[in-house]
Symmetry: C2
Subunit: 453 residues, 2 copies
């Protein structure tokens, strides 16, 4: 076929914006950026057939220019300066794939100031600076999309904001940190202690060299912050999430939970109560037969209870280059479809139009209601009913109390399930137990969730 | 507050279309229509806060006018003529909530001809008349939304078309008929036969008086047709789905599957193979520990394998008035946001823009590959290796063969797991077994799916 040597309409900017390719500038071309580049290249035709237009990476910022060039090839210009991408006149959408909070905030705000739409999978950035970023985006009339920030492969942000839009969400509960879930699965399946399981996770690449964010529950708290805002139409309240990681767990905790028919999962829970929103990340006991308790290894799962839909659950990988790319590209396609659509007709950043956001109070830790599992080291020769009486004296009733299996006779332990109580009552009782002559050492207490439909 | 008696801007049509309430005409006010009305009324403020505009039912068509008026109140005009709603000048979107195929097709086409957008949860209608309806909608430039047509409470259509847009889907497998799943759960948990479990499902309202569509697999095939089209970018091929219901299952099948470590589920499977798309609904064995095998009672679950996201799963109620309403209203909110958005920028009806749809061949039944589970009634005194030899003579190798537990010595049965084969090979072997002197009666064969990530 003869083709005229005149540049295409597209190249000359003569096609309407909505039909030419969406032009993407990428900041960072590591795991997430590289994965996005690869999936976009591999599934190019497929994605265009669905999006109705192409998606093209036209600029990349990276620290290691030579490495970046090896990934994206000679056709895509590479710069060391993220602000250059944020301001690039040919860029429609900036993908922030660099991670971190401080500099990433500045790049994203710069991109917004230049009228760029933004995609990011950076949960730390949004949990901490989200309100500022979304306000700037609203003021400039641009969208910021972040499906990859929570449980990467699972379109859970879209499910909450769009799929379940008719529902008043009553609660959601999620296994949203793959590293912790991998470690807990190892501890259960192989009877390992926390330190050994962590080392194995690191050796297999499921945990970073510095695992603090994951095993201390901070990463899960970032994600829970985003989920709760979208579920309840409340602001981002990261600082108010009650956070406890898996780093304090012992093999005896996992075993003692099993003995009573439970599994320990690092669970993010957001629940609407008459007094405020429960917002917490904690190692939590789930009934062993519960569907969420079947989410094993590094997988993620989020369960949502809506007043109309009832219980729905979403399951998938919580990390990985292409798994995150799946979400980043879904966001890019959404943005590609919004060309010329007035902001008032777009899905609001946190699901609810800002004037209707409710500043729901967050329930303080002391008021957190629920059932608790206790592991109580007792002095040899003590009886379970003495423990039961001591707890009852402080307002803690027990629905169950048994001796832990596999503890030496000289160092027995009791396993208990309390009745319904609030945290303050338990704290009070535990303070008393600490000096009780029958009690041999610190009591471990973990929340129990049954997540009934 | 003093209010001017002048009609509102909204009432006089002086507000831009995108900011006034979306006006809905509903055809049918039974389970789905009534549920939609109730949820819209209850969560009105909540939904408007998310959608950015109200959603208002302005006309209803129903067979029983008095009953309809009791549900929707005096403020909403009720007619016996669905075509009146389809043509109503004040209606933006028609919700078809009447069910059935013939008349529903005419009403939906009439609504489209009048330039109305349409929402329906009617899988039979779309599986059979979808291509015609979507073509008419495209020609008229209106959208037809149908999230409620598959696994009502689960936003699975949205997940496939939008959330997983970056992925080439390799396969999907779904428990997408709640009635069948309820019956199978009963059969397993209580050792019931099919007929007893069906009667119990009917008594509890989980099965209709005429359960044929559900237990014969037809309803699941309707849904699989829609899922496969969206997953693979292929046309609706309902007539080509290989369908087998649970009505031929015996208690011995469920028990015999359990004995080898499997559970029987009515599974819809769509899988891309080099030779064509596998498209089938059949009672299928899943490993008992598989996550999909934990989907019990009347719940639905759909698992999807994408090349980037990997395996994701979606779980929720597959029926119910408010569960369906959740999907219908999500569609209404999506449509409310599309005011003035050119069709080319909207999500295509079946996920892919029509010019890019691939007419993928559907794999014929004879070519269906996989492992099969067999239950073979043998003449007393026969040996398993005789059976193994007979099958091997027809090209069917066995990876496992054992005696079924709990069968009388006089009427023994063998349970087998075959190696990988195609259906034609098995059909050939089963024809030979039918006249084999060692075989006492008809052989039951069911597919086995491991759905590995």
């Amino acid at each position: 076929m003869y083709r005229d040597p005149v540049p295409s309409l597209e190249a000359r900017g003569l096609l309407p914006a909505a039909t030419r390719a969406l032009r993407v500038g990428m900041i960072g071309i590591g795991t997430v950026g590289g994965g996005t580049f690869r999936v976009l290249a591999r599934n190019q035709r497929h994605i265009a057939a669905r999006a109705g237009r192409g998606i093209e990476i036209v600029a990349v910022a990276a620290r290691d220019l030579a490495r970046a060039a090896r990934i994206v090839g000679a056709a895509v210009p590479v710069t060391a300066d993220p602000f250059e991408v944020a301001a690039h006149p040919e860029v429609d959408v900036v993908v922030e794939a660099a991670g971190g909070t401080g500099p990433a905030r500045d790049w994203v705000l710069a991109a917004i100031a230049h009228g760029k739409r933004v995609v990011t999978a950076n949960k730390a950035l949004l949990a901490v600076h989200g309100e500022e970023i979304f306000a700037a985006a609203r003021a400039r009339g641009v969208a910021v999309a972040y499906e990859g920030a929570v449980a990467v492969s699972i379109p859970i942000v879209k499910a909450l904001r769009e799929g379940l839009v008719a529902n008043r969400v009553e609660w959601l509960a999620g296994i949203i940190n793959g590293t912790s879930n991998f470690i807990l699965s190892k501890m259960r399946d192989e009877g390992m202690g926390f330190a050994d399981a962590l080392r194995e996770a690191q050796a297999l690449g499921y945990a970073e060299a510095d695992p603090a964010f994951d095993v201390q529950g901070i990463d899960a708290a970032h994600k829970l912050t985003l989920l709760a805002a979208n579920a309840f139409g409340m602001p981002l309240r990261f600082a108010d999430v009650q956070v406890e990681g898996i780093d304090g767990l012992e093999a005896a905790d996992v075993r003692g939970a099993e003995q009573l028919g439970f599994r320990v999962k690092l669970l993010g829970v957001a629940r609407r109560t008459p007094e405020g929103v429960e917002l917490r990340v904690q190692p939590t006991l789930l009934p062993a037969t519960h569907l969420l308790a079947q989410v094993n290894g590094s997988m993620n799962g989020v369960m949502v209870k809506g007043d109309a839909a009832g219980v729905t659950m979403y399951y998938g990988a919580g990390a990985g280059a292409e798994q995150t790319a799946s979400a980043v590209i879904a966001d890019l396609v959404d943005l590609a479809r919004l060309e010329g659509v007035p902001p008032a007709q777009q899905v609001p950043h946190l699901g609810v139009h800002p004037h209707a956001t409710e500043a729901l109070p967050v329930l303080p830790r002391a008021a957190a209601p629920g059932v608790r599992w206790l592991r109580v080291p007792l002095v040899a020769g003590q009886r379970l009913d003495a423990l039961q009486a001591a707890l009852a004296g402080h307002g803690v009733s027990l629905q169950r109390v048994v001796w832990a299996d596999h503890t030496p006779a000289a160092a027995p332990e009791a396993l208990c399930l309390t009745g319904l109580l609030v945290q303050a009552t338990l704290d009070d009782a535990l303070r008393a137990l600490a000096t009780h002559p029958a009690v041999r050492g610190p009591v471990k207490a973990l929340p129990v969730e049954t997540l009934d439909a």
